[in-house]
Amino acid sequence: MIRFKNLKLAAGLLLASSLFSSTAFAQDNMRIALVVKALGIGFFEAAAKGAEEAAGELGNVEIIYTGPTDTTAEGQIEVINSLIAQNVDAIAISANDPDALVPALKKAMQRGITVISWDSGVAEEGRQMHLNPSSNALIGNMIIKLAADHLPDGGQVAVLSATATATNQNIWIDEMNKVMGDYPGIEVVTTVYGDDLADKSYREAQGLMQSYPDLDAIIAPTSVGIVAAAQAVDDAGKSGEINVTGLGLPSEMAGAIESGASKSFAIWNPIDLGYSATMIAHALASDKAKAEAGSEIPMGRMGTIVLDDTTSGAMADPFVYDSSNIDEFKSIF
């Protein structure tokens, strides 16, 4: 019992002494925490690689790559609390919930920590700025550019979208139509809808090949549609004749690139995303830039980001994947 009491006393003394100790620990390095939705996801591991690259370029920057085990807001809040306790300089987070993280991130900002969100955003009051991987206009331009690049003499292209009411796809197709003037000789013959179902997308792609025998390319701005269309083209023995392109995931599209059904496609590059998030967090935490509407923040090799009225901005064009880099990325995401 006595031993027991002594231990209690010792713990009490430790606790008491702690209450007077200060948090001021000398820090040479700037510590930037890259908080992801959950650990063990290829996309985010790649983002961490980009963050390390940025840290190497900047020098004196330590990256803390962390996140919960499951994609829960509560798990991320525990992570944020421990980062606040460590008094890190900046938190760059891909959020599991745009609202539930706000109180915890507000507390971080009150304690002088720079907070930005990237990939999946946080509501405006919970962060200083948000980094979007791309913008609707850039995506709309990219999907038609991917097709046009392989058609120097012009040609017929068709769009295989998700559902007719899919917000994202409709915006991207609208944006694409706006820039059609930049691609003379390219004619969009029709838009069909595969409803983001593999079998329906496959049949729609077959239908396109029958209805338009001179078709040169199919643009599918959906990761389900692009895989199904590439399969349909390959099964019809038209690989090399009809180029399937759009937005897809490298892991799912590696086969189509190999067979020649797709020459190239695009999606965000997680390495660039982690790199840019780190660059922005560093610029804000070291007061080299301000997160205000209209301000410009340097992102190293990725150029400069311009913030809009919601203090969010677009990083870059979607990244193009083709036979030269598909092997590197197919194992990542």
Binding site: S18, S21, T69, A73, A85
Partner: protein, 334 residues
């Protein structure tokens, strides 16, 4: 089982305690756990320069307070030989109900009533399934676990309820005095209330009796079904309390709120020395277990240890703390 030991002094009653009080308390589960907690505390303060800081330790308590509220009530339920796995789903449903009330223009007092009321209703539903229909509690509450959270998903889908009134934030984000948060004060109060309920009242004795021998308890004049029903009500009520605090801390409601908490709460109860088969366990044990789990996760978090490693550590701790006393007694009786 401290307190009411006057019975042992009556000659014709078989003593339920043969060792001295001192020896017993030194070798008790609680002392062992306390040692573990102190060891973790000391290890943490050496491992990270950020650990011994009043604000940081205060932040760390949020990792376990809400779960502990439920663990207190669940400890009683488990001692009585039943279990409730729907507690996290009750949080989701109670939070959703509060969110709906906010949309209807309810103020903070109404929100608290809605949260507590939803918890009570869910607890009553579980209690009826078990005591009236005679379903095994593990089956019944696995069912209601899906049911309650399912209702939240139907109401909310991929949407969220926001716009909680500013003063509602006090429950999950407010401080009563300096670094002492409201949640921590509530934790201490509930720990005292449940300790008294379990260890100092007839109701508490009935809980142990039911857990050890429900038939015997029934023939001793204990209204077994009624006690069990009250325990389910209390567990539901505590889930409602946790829902209020968690919702206030998050400032929003999604149907995925508190996902996976039921197992963490059961872990807390078992780590606290409560026999999962019922009949034994103490409330102070659960209180210390709450601290142990909170200290471990926060300490490892400060070292940026990945969450999966934390789960492994908690698992190892659970097996270790349960296995050690058994090995010890085997070795002694050899």
């Amino acid at each position: 089982m401290s307190g009411s030991n006057t019975a042992t002094e009556v000659a014709n009653v078989i003593p339920d305690r043969i060792k001295s009080r001192l020896e017993q308390s030194l070798k008790s589960w609680e002392s062992l756990l306390m040692l573990v907690a102190i060891a973790i505390f000391i290890a943490n303060s050496f491992a990270s320069p950020y650990f011994l800081n009043a604000w940081n330790l205060s932040d760390a308590t949020f990792n376990f307070t809400e779960k502990a509220y439920i663990a207190f009530a669940l400890a009683l339920l488990i001692i009585a030989g039943e279990i409730d796995l729907s507690v996290a789903a009750i949080i989701a449903l109670a939070s959703t109900a509060m969110g709906a009330a906010v949309q209807a223009g309810a103020g903070t007092p109404v929100l608290v009533l809605v949260g507590l009321g939803t918890g009570l209703l869910c607890g009553a539903f579980n209690g009826l399934l078990v005591t009236r229909l005679g379903l095994p509690s593990i089956v019944a509450t696995i069912g209601t676990m899906s049911l309650f959270r399912g209702i939240s998903y139907i109401i909310l889908g991929d949407q969220a309820y926001r716009g909680y009134p500013a003063d509602f934030a006090f429950f999950g984000q407010g401080y009563v005095f300096w670094v002492i948060s409201f949640e921590f004060v509530l934790f201490v109060l509930l720990a005292i209330v449940y300790s008294i309920l379990l260890h100092k009242t007839n109701f508490g004795r009935a809980v142990y009796a039911i857990g050890n021998n429900p038939t015997g308890a029934l023939f001793s004049g204990i209204r077994v079904a009624r006690v069990k029903f009250i325990l389910f009500l209390l567990t539901g009520l505590m889930a409602g309390v946790a829902a209020i605090c968690l919702t206030s801390r998050l400032g929003s409601t999604r149907p995925s709120i508190a996902t996976g908490w039921e197992l963490e709460i059961v872990t807390m109860v078992v780590l606290g020395g409560v026999n999962i088969l019922g009949g034994s366990g103490t409330l102070p044990g659960v209180v210390i277990a709450a601290f142990v789990m909170g200290l471990v996760t926060f300490g490892l978090g400060l070292l940026n240890v990945p969450g999966i490693v934390m789960s492994i550590v908690i698992g190892a701790l659970l097996i270790g703390v349960i296995a050690l006393p058994r090995l010890w007694s085997k070795w002694k009786h050899r």
